[in-house]
């Protein structure tokens, strides 16, 4: 019998704008997880060997990374413009 683990992770308000991007990212990296959004939570159903704490950490890391990527994109663009400017 396959062991199933359901984990629901509450996402802090300041990061809720990145839930969808994080779900896309986690789904791409953790192909054996079933991931969905339920209001302001990310819900993971895993048949793999990951523990609840592992799943929680991976999801939050993905949210953090999408937030950091989005909010610093302008800095990266400006850096490129700086170093490629003639």
């Amino acid at each position: 019998m396959t062991h199933l683990l359901d984990v629901a992770i509450d996402i802090p308000e300041a990061m809720r704008g990145y839930i969808d991007a994080a779900i896309t990212r986690v789904g791409y990296v953790q192909v054996r997880w079933v991931i969905s959004r339920v209001e302001n939570r990310i819900v993971v159903r895993s048949t793999a060997d990951a523990s609840e704490s592992d799943i929680r950490r991976e999801v939050l890391y993905a949210v953090y990374r999408e937030k950091i990527l989005s909010e610093t994109m302008d800095m990266r663009r400006a850096l490129l413009e700086t170093v490629t400017r003639r």
Partner: protein, 468 residues
């Protein structure tokens, strides 16, 4: 104050944080939570500013310095100045893992013709560089010593500085070959897979041939000196030599830099089992070897290094370590390095030559007669940068890492797989995990080896910044 984007990665002792310019430090989940939630404290900001991860306004010293460091991390295009030449594909040996898909010693049609030699020399003459490094490969290049001499004589007259490496199996070394090796501008490279039993099993197939090899190697050390000799082992991770057997074999010939390479899956080695599952075993073997030589260096009072680990360590510590064609970013094709095959075809790397030999994919980028096909090179170069890859952009190791389009094509037939699933990524994640494990390890033996491998006198605490 603005903080440059920080990527993060769990390491054994906490969380590693790294910026796009390769600046890094260790911290913890609490810092990550503050950073991700825009709740950095004054102490956090002070630390970040002091360490070059933040600036006040665009154009200030912190901003400009970061821009410089970011640029320095990129491998710059240099003129073509390092060429691997394959004057013959014929070989007098039959190594199991031979990635060159050799031709028999008495085969015909696998050597440069007179016309090919003339075209190679004309190609060399058209190069923009004043300095050249030529690596003679094969097959067994000493089977065509005449061609090697012709190239060397030409290069000595044409370039301000010329260096030559003869890659040979040291089986049948004539007086003429020893004469060729006598010059100070000529170096020797060979393969030592381990002690005699390993060498016999994997390469020579006879104990007599192995004995001849080690006798010739001993002669080479006496004639050339250990400084002009390099050697590499190819390791079958299913049956590897014991660490001490391998190290002591190399030390016996005065060689203290050992570049562990797994059996390559191209050429004849492709016929053997080379599943990705072998990578786990390889990573374990490599990490174990590094730990072993740290302990041994401390015990024996001598320094041995694993070449690729030292290379990756130096890439972490500073920019500009871009000379190795297997790890740099961008990894531009046919820029400073190219391979010229027995038929005059130009390839961007030896692995690309092998893929063509086995009919997998044609990655030829030109011919000595017609020059380099820049359109094809530009097409390949489109995948040579990791800086904005959608996976690598999240990775703390991205500034230190690189790309290997040829390896991806060889293994998977495509270059757009999720990075974390590729052999290249998984291999380098393991290497950089080991680098940072050792950087933050707090013992004298590790610090002593890290210092030697980094080329510094001693390893100060400041080399392992921590923010709590």
């Amino acid at each position: 104050m603005k903080v440059w984007p920080l990527r993060f990665h769990p390491i054994e002792s906490g969380l590693l944080f790294a910026d796009d310019a390769g600046g890094w430090f260790r911290s913890d989940e609490a810092f990550l939570s503050r950073y991700a939630s825009d709740r950095l404290t004054d102490e956090d900001l002070r630390f970040l500013k002091e360490r070059g991860h933040a600036f006040e306004r665009e154009g200030d010293l912190g901003h400009t310095a970061f821009a410089w460091r970011w640029t320095a991390r990129l491998a710059s295009a240099r003129p073509l100045s390092y060429l691997m030449l394959v004057p013959t594909l014929r070989c007098n040996q039959s190594c199991d893992y031979c990635q060159v898909s050799r031709a028999a010693e008495n085969a015909t049609g696998y050597d440069w013709t007179d016309e090919t030699l003339a075209q190679v020399l004309a190609f060399l003459d058209r190069l923009e560089t004043d300095e050249i490094k030529i690596e003679f490969q094969g097959g067994e290049p000493t089977l065509r010593l005449d061609l090697l001499k012709a190239v060397r004589d030409f290069c000595r007259g044409r370039f301000t500085s010329a260096q030559f490496v003869l890659c040979t199996n040291l089986q049948d070394v004539s007086a003429a070959v020893w004469d060729f090796l006598a010059s100070d501008d000529t170096f020797l490279s060979t393969s030592i897979d381990g002690p005699a039993a390993t060498q016999t099993r994997q390469r020579t197939k006879s104990s007599d041939a192995t004995r001849r090899f080690f006798e010739n190697l001993e002669t080479a050390v006496q004639r050339l000196g250990a400084d002009r000799i390099s050697a590499l082992p190819t390791i079958d991770v299913r049956d590897p030599p014991a660490f001490e057997d391998l190290v002591s074999t190399y030390e016996k010939f005065g060689i203290g830099s050992i570049y562990l390479r797994p059996t390559n899956h191209q050429g004849f080695a492709r016929k053997q089992s080379q599943a990705d599952s072998g990578l786990t075993a390889w990573n374990r073997y490599h990490a174990g070897f590094v730990d072993y030589i740290i302990e041994r260096n401390a015990r024996a009072g001598r320094s041995v290094e694993e070449f690729y680990f030292s290379l990756c360590l130096r890439r972490v510590l500073r920019a500009g370590i871009d000379q190795h064609v297997n790890i740099r970013n961008p990894n531009l094709f046919a820029a400073d390095y190219a391979v010229i095959d027995f038929d005059g075809t130009i390839y961007p790397a030896d692995e690309a030559r092998m893929l063509a030999r086995i009919g997998w994919v044609d990655l030829a980028v030109g011919h000595v007669q017609t020059g380099i096909d820049q359109e094809k090179v530009d097409l390949l170069n489109g995948s040579s940068l990791n800086s904005f890859d959608p996976d690598c952009i999240h990775c703390a190791y991205q500034p230190f890492c690189g790309t290997d389009v040829v390896d991806d094509l060889s293994r998977y037939g495509r270059v757009d797989l999720p990075r974390h699933t590729t052999w290249f990524c998984r291999r380098h994640m393991a290497v950089f995990d080991k680098v940072f494990e050792l950087i933050f390890r707090d013992d004298d033996a590790t610090r002593a080896s890290l210092a030697r491998w980094s080329g510094i006198e001693a390893w100060p605490t400041a080399m392992a910044p921590v923010h709590t």
